[in-house]
Symmetry: C2
Subunit: 197 residues, 2 copies
């Protein structure tokens, strides 16, 4: 039976973790990005579809390709981040189901030719994997700065041209400079958004 994690781990993952808005100079080695994905990949997805695709921008040249597509308020912190992850969702995820979901050979046919179901399933499951990604980064001692403020068509053209992948969101990665973190915004209480039936 699984054990509850110690309080320090719950703090690192949830309670004291904060979205990073500035960075120390400490780099993030490529091995850490592989370790990050090697945690994320184990998180569950519907029919094991794993629609997440990631471009890790680690060079100045790659980040410069992203710059013109960022909302003005996101430019400075993103260009300063050691790594910027472009998280995409592959709308052709169902082509891989015969390999990923081998115990049900008909899984591919659940999606083929159903663009609305494809779009919704890809977004739902790539975003679940996005949640795993943010928490896995924190679990490895990184800080994350997820962002929706960018021109998604521009980022699609720049990084996913000629593929079936569409951008979902961006996530800066590194070690946060706490002096640049914003004050925490309010959260809903349990009784406002949850109910026991």
């Amino acid at each position: 039976m699984a054990e509850r994690l110690p309080d320090a781990a719950l703090d690192t993952l949830f309670r004291t973790a904060r979205t990073a808005n500035g960075w120390t100079g400490e780099p993030v080695p490529p091995e850490t990005l592989v370790a990050l994905y090697d945690l994320v990949k184990w998180g569950p997805t519907s029919a094991n579809m794993q629609p997440l695709r990631v471009k890790f921008l680690v060079t100045t040249a790659a980040k410069e390709r992203l710059r013109p597509h960022l909302s003005p308020g996101n430019v400075e912190k993103t260009m300063a981040a050691p790594v910027v992850a472009v998280l995409g969702q592959d709308l052709a995820f169902y082509e891989h189901l015969p390999r990923l979901f081998p115990h049900n050979p008909s899984a591919r046919s659940w999606f083929e030719g159903k663009p609305e179901l494809i779009r919704e399933s890809a977004l739902r499951n790539a975003s679940l994997q996005g949640g795993y990604f943010i928490l896995a980064a924190r679990a490895l001692g990184l800080d994350a700065g997820p962002m929706s403020g960018f021109d998604s068509e521009g980022v699609d053209r720049e990084f996913w041209q000629g593929t079936s992948v569409k951008t979902n969101f961006l996530c800066n990665l590194g070690h946060a400079d706490p002096s640049k973190t914003f004050p925490r915004s309010p959260r809903f209480d349990f009784t406002e958004v949850c109910e026991l039936l």
Copy 2:
């Protein structure tokens, strides 16, 4: 600076955690569900929108309301689960932004009257919160059994009638009977779905 979590915690969250398909008789007290939400709520969402809404079905009567809407393969394990969470997304999330995102009074206007952006933002961010939910359950020593196999219009009618909430996915919660867990399905390798630029 945040520390990397110990290997045992990475196992509990990702590496050895498995989707539950059957349950021991051990109950899940209501306090644990409050503790679960009180972790989930801290995870980041775009503009702090927090579109997740949850009905925790803890009584047999509530689970019987869900039964007719489940895919046949999901009925037995779901009816046997100590708790079934119905995770929804509130499409009126933007009405709360003046309170949730107080430093930018115009945030509500980014979404108002834009149904496609509303739908996409709600699904993306409620699913991010869904990822936090699954990992927070594991962090508290629970096992999770997330599911997309159900009639979403039926579940919407049964549990969210008269509201702006739509069902996203279901998640059984409890303590897994490991003898009922399926063999693990394959995962993509880093080099198949990630790239360093």
